[in-house]
Symmetry: C2
Subunit: 299 residues, 2 copies
């Protein structure tokens, strides 16, 4: 029988009927149903379909070792944040899955497209900034479980944009690779601290197809100022998250929908010469505290 | 308020609210709803989401001047054929849109990924094959409107795989560019004819991510033997279609879902030395007749 609009889903899902991996079959069946549902609703002309093919192709071709335009596309469609939100609900036990509510663990948020190089190992107290033009800050915190038990030796991977809003990989002439990045190990009491500069809000990269989409839809490309964290420790559920700078522009309209109120922290000015000297910082400096709570993996 | 699974569609569609082009806004709204619906149904883990990003990126990066892997992906998901079917229903007046039924005009089918170079202009009767290893054939027909009025000067763009199942652009060492392709102009009575070789069934390209998907899902990559046509004339609705070779393998399981029974034709053997001599063909040769009916554009 000829392919028809009414039978298109059946015809195509039938072709996936022999898929050995049941999960892959489930994903392909759902993809076909939702993709055909989208097409039947939008009823693209052939010219529009071609434009869509060109757009997806351009996204793929914009990707390279240091640029991940498909993650950016997923981000601006809220897809990354939705996946992250569902993953967090599952990790916290699933009971609250439908609402996206989380447990007592630190809330997660999107990975983003800039976790593309390995963060250099650094000692507690080191600075992740080697350029020196930004406003100095100290970020400190602890890693513990919900009942307050410290997690000694937790690994804290951080990366951030500079005071101009760029990550190292975006401006190799202005920042050495590894600038704004650090991989720290919590001390015996689960504590960590490092020096950096206060990050700036910034536009996601707009020189590719995703930027063109934002322009065409009159969406701004900005993200509020933040520092990325991945915190993990054996026997615990890892968390991918940010700490956001309180008062930053765009906290209420993040281009990638990633703000959670529980992740916003004051980067308060500190005018304490003793504290500054202790940390090797000038006076005044700014200080933020970000305590991370990890769920034990068994729960 | 924090982004949540329940509100994700509202949060993201709201971000597209200022899109100046109403059609683009409609497409983005629908895309977000169906994409989030897919994700909520499948509930991908972060690792699965990353695998999806990698897959789409690999598709984009497989594309070049002569390879369109995103069209191939659209094809094996039945998306190309669905769009083509809806376009044909719209062109024929839309009344039968829901069923995909078409008018008296020649049925359309997918463009496919190999219409990537311009077909060389050729005179009626010319051969589009310059390699000479296949079984010679004559393809002839007419272009007319549904009431039988000839369409003189119609343009007939044809392209096909060779007897090994390859298009020129796939095997530049074995076929000169333009082999298997031709752009013809119908005569004063709307007739066209040209020489070629009987095409073979063939696998769609399997050396990329789409091939890997077919392997993982135990789908075969084959298409039944066919010749592609785009026929157009001023004042008429153009048609993108194929003529399929009757009896070809895979007519009932085309990897891209593009077979329509009304497009299957006998490529019957002809043992007629006079006819062979008239067309510059050896005896025996094979002959197929494909009359094309174009809808006047006003209807």
């Amino acid at each position: 029988m000829d392919f028809s609009e009414d039978d298109s889903v059946d015809a195509v899902t039938a072709s996936f009927a022999d898929t050995p991996d049941p999960r892959l079959r489930e994903v392909m069946d759902s993809l076909v149903r939702h993709l055909h549902g989208f097409l039947r609703e939008v009823r693209p002309s052939l010219a529009e379909w071609e434009r869509g093919i060109e757009f997806l192709t351009a996204i793929g071709q914009k990707c390279d070792e240091h640029r991940q335009e498909f993650i950016l596309f997923s981000d601006v469609l809220g897809a990354s944040m939705l996946v992250e939100t569902m993953e967090a609900a599952r990790q916290s036990g699933g009971a609250s899955g439908a609402t996206g509510e989380e447990s007592d663990a630190t809330a997660s948020t999107v990975l983003g497209p800039f976790h593309v190089v390995r963060s250099p190992e650094r000692a507690l107290g080191d600075s992740i900034d080697s350029v020196g033009t930004g406003e100095p800050c100290l970020i400190e915190g602890s890693v513990s479980t919900p009942d307050g038990t410290p997690v000694p030796g937790a690994r804290i991977d951080v990366w951030q944009a500079d005071d101009h809003g760029f990550y190292d990989v975006q401006v190799p002439d202005a920042q050495p690779l590894g600038n704004g990045r650090g991989l720290f190990t919590a001390d015996d009491e689960g504590r960590f601290w490092f020096r950096s500069i206060v990050p700036a809000h910034y536009p996601i990269p707009t020189d590719g197809p995703v930027g063109a989409l934002l322009t065409a839809t009159k969406r701004h490309p900005y993200r509020p100022a933040h520092v990325h964290f991945i915190v993990e420790a054996p026997g615990h559920v890892p968390v991918t998250t940010h700490v956001f700078v309180a008062g930053s522009a765009y906290l209420d309209s993040d281009a990638v929908f990633a703000v959670k109120q529980s992740l916003v922290r004051d980067f308060a000015p500190v005018d304490d010469p003793d504290a500054a000297a202790r940390h090797g910082l000038p006076t005044p400096f700014r200080r933020a505290r970000f305590d991370v709570v990890l769920q034990p993996a068994s729960s």
